[in-house]
Amino acid sequence: MFRAFSDFLSARFPVEKMNFNAMVAKKEVPVHKMSWAYYLGGLSLFFLIVQVVTGLMLLFYYEPTVSDAHASVEFITKHVSGGALIRNMHSWSASAMIFCVMAHMLTAFAMKAFERPRELIWVTGVIMLLLTFTFGFTGYLLPWNQIAVNATKVGLQSIEEIGTFLPQSLSTLPRLIRETIQGEASVGQATLSRFYALHVVVLPLLMFAVLALHLFSIQLHGMSKGVDSEVRKTEKFFPDFMIKDLTLWGVVFLVLFIVALCLPFESFFSYPLSEPYNPLGSTPEGIKPEWYFYFLYYPLEMLPFWVVFLVTNAAVLVLLLAPWIFRGTSRRTLRVLAVVITAYLVLMTVFGEQIYYIVKGGQ
């Protein structure tokens, strides 16, 4: 038993390869028609770096209290020199990061990048995907405006829905979980403090730890070959691939910069939603989560809760266990699967609202 475990670990962390020569100098990147997908991981890392830097800058002015949060965010955007730019970059880059992380995961799946001995790279990747979503969810609350607080309320309330499907003795458990996350009976100061701590300290620390393992392993094992056929052509990771990677980062930064300069992220909300949260008034219309939760949100609106709940949990489980479940599957089949999943995600994200109206009638 112990023997098997130590064998597993030594195959995943081959000590003889832990040197600069093997990990950087000799690393080769396959060149084939899916090669573009090798840039997605780096791009996700780039957006994470942007998030860390702009996030730190925002921290200098942000105040995580119910009375001051919205005012401090407004102060950043209206008065601090370059504040609007930094904040827009933070929110645009957040969306871009989630997009890249999802694309990275889908292509890695299609290319069977989780093949032995790269299982742990995949699993850490799935964990980081979940962390990224949590980043998105917790960060969304911090500006403390109408849409932020109300969307968070709705999101947390759905935890409680699970209670109706549990046996009587357990039925209050989800409510307890929700109130533990919230820190009080409804979304308030305690929730803001907790989400702030999670968003700014806990999640980054977790992310760095998992990311370190992820990157270390990828350097150790090299890029997966990505195609079923023999890889004929490769290029050196250092410096050839890396220079291309950095060039892409430069271009993407320029695009992000210009977009952040010209388009405030909030311009997609109608005005009342960016007003400070009013605990005594009615919930304004048009409360929706961020676009990257649409794939989960619209099914929740259309299907019975337990169906979505079970499917989501099953999906996370399948994702985590993918290296073992799809061990014998060919890349061709995986590619078809990935295309189907992508089609679903795109359809729900872009046309979710229309589909909702078709299913539910009205409008």
Binding site: D68, C262, G281
Partner: protein, 437 residues
């Protein structure tokens, strides 16, 4: 659409121009040329090209002058004679351009040798140039004295683009012709690196100034000289590149540092701005305090005042906060007595709107559930499944005598004087009615 045309397109064009030009200079240096077809056909070319270039160069210089020195230009144009001369010269030059381009177009389409070297891009460029110059002329004729009005409208817009603070509203209200001319201009900037237009960047202006040269065929010793010169050149290019990169990096660093320092310095606000900010902060803190006071009141007291019974309305509910700090609504029922119902949607906890529809229902705006306030039941097929609970209440008169109450066993009226109750009674919610009263 307009913000795309007047903000998006300019930046895309400038971006394409910069990157396209750099890319073209780097990747295929030898394609940087006007692709002259003079040796294939020269007689029509002489007429077309000369007319076109004289016209367009002068017109473009005038455009650039307006943008670069709007103050000086406005000063000049305030003189009526100068304005008149400028405008008519401009019109004449654009006519010259149009004639030139017509000749060039005919030449491209008629002479077979020239046709053989004509690409699609050439035709696109020719056509667009014709349209763009035509638009310019049309603007000059239809909206007269553009030389004077441009400094107040299009020039600030162009500067807003150049200084990265785009203000599309400066041009969106302009006449259609002007807008089309502006858009066309940016389209051209984008086309420069991808067409023969690129030759404008390498126009051999120094030919006009240099000594006349004599071209001779090379021999061995000349070749050797050329090789040496090339080696010298490559060293020079390296140095130049090095200096340029260094200068670029320094400028970038200065720019970034400038922004960073200012960001951390914080804003310099006037006293009025600071006072306004402080005032806003105080308002928010006060509302937080109010919220906390509500919570404190609910922890401490057994009864919470909602409103006077006479203030209740049958159509528009009053929001109040129940003992668990959840929103609730108070309506006047048909019998005049209060009807208190939770306003926290049983679906996902949104706050329900307070206006009663004609059929006695209130709406949760989040996912469109209608609740009947009599029964609390949601409508058929709504996302909410369980009914909104009603709240218990008591009514006291001003001396604190119990007039009426609602608890789990229903509504009981303790007084005979119903009119007094409805006029002077005060409505309270109760912490736990069964234990108290």
């Amino acid at each position: 659409m307009e913000s795309f045309l007047f903000i998006g397109l300019p930046y895309i064009s400038i971006g394409l121009f910069l990157f396209g030009t750099i890319a073209r200079f780097r990747s295929s240096l030898y394609s940087i040329s006007s692709q002259s077809s003079q040796f294939l056909e020269h007689r029509a070319l002489r007429w077309g090209s000369t007319a076109w270039h004289i016209g367009i160069i002068l017109i473009l210089l005038a455009h650039i002058a307006v943008v670069l020195a709007p103050g000086l230009w406005t000063g000049l144009m305030s003189n009526k004679t100068i304005l008149l001369v400028t405008e008519s010269t401009g019109i004449a030059l654009s006519l010259l351009c149009l004639i030139g381009i017509l000749v060039l177009a005919v030449r491209r389409l008629v002479f077979s040798k020239v046709q053989a070297v004509t690409t699609n891009m050439d035709l696109v460029v020719l056509g667009l140039l014709f349209v763009q110059v035509g638009l310019g002329l049309a603007v000059a004729l239809k909206h007269k004295w553009g030389a004077a009005w441009a400094t107040g409208t299009v020039v600030p817009y162009l500067w807003s683009i150049l200084t990265l603070k785009p203000r599309a509203e400066l041009v969106t209200e302009m006449p259609l012709l002007v807008k089309a001319h502006v858009v066309g201009g940016f389209a051209f900037i984008a086309l420069i690196p991808f067409s023969r237009l690129i030759h404008m960047l390498t126009a051999p202006v120094h030919y006009l100034l240099r000594e006349p040269q004599l071209v001779v065929w090379s021999n061995l010793s000349r070749t050797r000289e050329a090789v040496i010169a090339q080696a010298y050149d490559s060293r020079r290019f390296f140095l130049r590149g090095f200096v340029a990169t260094g200068a670029g990096a320094t400028m970038l660093a200065v720019g970034v540092m400038d922004k960073l320092v200012r960001f951390f310095q914080g804003p310099k606000l006037s006293k009025e701005q600071e006072a306004a900010l402080m005032e806003e902060k105080l308002i928010r803190i006060k509302s937080t305090v109010e919220q906390r006071e509500l919570e404190y009141e609910r922890l401490k007291n057994d009864y919470i005042y909602v409103c006077r019974v006479s203030d209740l309305d049958a159509r528009v509910g009053r929001y109040f906060t129940d003992f668990e700090m959840r929103p609730a609504l108070a309506f006047r029922d048909e019998d005049g007595l209060p009807l208190l119902i939770s306003a926290k949607c049983t679906h996902l906890g949104c706050t329900i709107a307070n206006e009663l529809s004609a059929d006695g229902k209130i709406l949760c705006p989040c996912h469109i559930s209608y609740f009947d306030i009599k029964t609390g039941q949601p409508n058929e097929g709504s996302p909410a499944k369980s009914p909104l609970p009603h709240l218990d209440w008591v009514i006291f008169d001003s001396q604190g005598n119990l007039l009426a109450q609602r608890n789990s066993s229903g509504v009981t009226i303790e007084t005979k004087d119903l009119a007094l109750l409805l006029q002077q009674g005060s409505l309270y919610i109760v912490k736990n009615l069964d234990k108290r009263v």
